[in-house]
């Protein structure tokens, strides 16, 4: 059995093999593989007995899923109005400088992907960002540099 097949078997055994399990399955694949590959989508379709187009449709609809490889840590900076008003652009600039990538890109060592996202629901404490599932609020350029450093040195471990 190929690696993709093994992984999909394991995940579908855990989450179930109906189309209702599709979203949890894709979320889990993303956690493990850092993206949802074409092979994985085809295999999920086979196991769930639905069309691959349906799997592709769902995989490409949600902003937290990705069919392109992401870094180990995905940074999502809130760009909605109140975070914007409180200095989101400086946070993005600082992250781009520190990580030496543009928004939308992944670092060469595959450690970080930088993205902008819509409202994170932290509007009273903006600017805010998520690193994988962990929210960071009231950001300043200094704070952001420190957070990235702590991820780089494994002081904060993957979640």
């Amino acid at each position: 059995m190929s690696d993709v097949k093994k992984m999909v078997t394991k995940i579908t055994n855990l989450h179930g093999k109906t189309s209702e399990s599709l979203l949890p399955i894709l979320q889990e694949i993303l956690v493990q593989e850092r993206y949802i590959s074409e092979d994985a989508m085809v295999e999920v379709a086979r196991v769930l007995d639905i069309s691959a187009a349906e799997v592709y449709g769902t995989a490409t609809f949600y902003s937290f899923l990705s069919t392109k490889p992401l870094g180990k840590y995905v940074i999502r900076v809130c760009k909605t109005i109140t975070c914007m008003m409180h200095g989101k652009n400086q946070i993005i600039k600082e992250l781009e400088d520190v990580l030496k990538i543009n928004t939308g890109e992944t670092t060469n060592d595959k450690l970080f992907t930088l993205m902008e996202t819509n409202c994170l629901g932290q509007c009273h404490e903006g600017p805010a960002m998520l690193v994988n599932d962990t929210p960071y609020t009231k950001l300043t350029p200094e704070k952001v540099r420190d957070i990235i450093e702590r991820y780089k040195t494994n002081e904060i471990l993957a979640n």
């Binding site: 949890p24 949600y62 109005i81 509007c123």
Partner: protein, 393 residues
């Protein structure tokens, strides 16, 4: 600053520590009794649309089916809203109790909390609360069960039928209505879907009685409301206030002294300029004329240093990304509105073009399939009409 502050309430976040009593007491009542209590309380949905909660429960209870569901809508995605997160963190037992009581009243065995992907960090604690709550239900011989279902970053999934689609593994594209969820919701079964805050309010109603709840607020807008206050304010955060306040009173309490506009109800809500603060009331009563505004609780304050063009641009950018793309008015309309205001700002289009864009937003209100496309006109027209000069120069 006014001498008398708006009354701050402490119903939702009050630590009651008597979940077991409330559950036992309410579960021993008849379903009709429970639902009638909720109807007479006047509680309306706190997600923003304001549908009467008791009626929703009654319609679902009246629909005959072996399978029914209770879903807590925790896909809190409206810009400027963060109250549901706070409720789930501080008083999850109230939300869970509301779900269990609803399940009994309508005849459901399963419940789900659809939690937005951005709030995944809440899961460990929330799951612990659910486990404890299940033990409590076990102890009284109740087999109702609640599961968390994780969203994956899509604003549209806050729309109830899109949420069902998402839970069924599909793209989050809204369904045609009717049928409404009370008839055909999750798995095409009758479903009550309530906002987090709405469910938490039912707990207070069952504890203190419908009359106590009715005493708060004003006609057609009963009870208290949790507001998420952000923007240009010295006191951002969560506040539980009584319905029926004027925006003027609100701004006196929460503004920085220089408020020029308040966006009530998030990107899909209305922008109210300073000159209309006095006559704008926060509540559900009356028609949506712009003088009485219903709200999911998002209150974003902008002071005179802010460009309302930038505000509108940000909202439109949001809608362009979050439109599911299923229906043409919304998919194309949101893009054209965004391109349109950019063209006017650049001077590529005359200022009169704004009237055409207003017409377009009105067309979207009439023809878009769901609330997302229909409500783009709310912020668009209220910002363009009240701050026209800022759109042009």
């Amino acid at each position: 600053m006014a001498t008398k502050h708006l009354m701050r309430l402490d119903l939702i976040f009050k630590n009651e520590n008597d979940t077991e009593n409330i559950i036992k007491k309410t579960m021993s009542r008849s379903n009709e009794d429970i639902i009638n209590d909720l109807i007479s309380s006047g509680l309306k949905g706190r997600g923003g649309a304001g549908f009467p909660t008791g009626l929703k429960w009654k319609l679902t209870a009246d629909t005959k089916s072996d399978e029914k569901y209770v879903i807590c809508n925790a896909d809190e995605g409206e810009p400027g809203t963060f109250k549901d997160r706070e409720i789930l963190v501080r008083v999850p037992e109230k939300v869970l109790s509301g779900m269990a009581i609803c399940a009994k009243a309508i005849g459901a065995k399963k419940g789900f909390i659809y939690l937005r992907g951005e709030y995944k960090f809440l899961v460990p604690k929330l799951q612990t609360s659910i486990n404890e709550f299940h033990e409590l239900l076990d102890s009284i011989g109740n087999s109702f069960r609640i599961n968390i279902y994780m969203g994956a970053g899509a604003y549209i999934c806050g729309e109830e039928s899109a949420l069902f689609e998402s839970m069924e593994g599909q793209r989050g594209e809204p369904r045609n209505k009717p049928p409404y969820p009370t008839q055909s919701g999750f798995r095409n079964s009758p479903t009550v879907i309530n906002n987090v805050e709405t469910l938490a309010h039912t707990y207070s109603i069952f504890k203190y009685g419908a009359d106590k709840f009715r005493d708060l607020g004003v006609q057609d807008s009963r009870g208290s409301k949790v507001f998420s206050v952000s923007g240009d304010t010295p006191n951002p955060g969560i506040y539980e206030l009584e319905f029926g306040m004027t925006l003027q009173r609100f701004v006196e309490d929460f503004g920085d002294g220089d408020a020029k506009a308040v966006q009530v109800g998030g990107a899909s809500g209305f922008c109210v300029p300073r000159k209309k603060f006095e006559k704008t009331i926060i509540g559900y009563q009356g028609k949506l004329t712009g003088t009485s505004l219903p709200t999911g609780g998002s209150m974003m304050i902008f002071n005179s240093s802010r460009s309302m063009y930038n505000v509108l641009h940000n909202y439109l950018d949001f809608f362009v990304e979050e439109s599911c793309g299923q229906c043409t008015p919304c998919r194309v309309g949101t893009q054209q509105l965004l391109h349109g205001i950019e063209a006017v700002k650049r001077g590529d289009m005359p200022s009169g073009y704004l009237s055409k864009l207003l017409d377009l937003s009105e067309t979207m209100r009439l023809t878009a399939k769901c609330g997302l496309g229909q409500s783009v006109a709310n912020s668009f027209s209220s910002i363009v009409e009240n701050f026209r000069e800022e759109m042009i120069y």
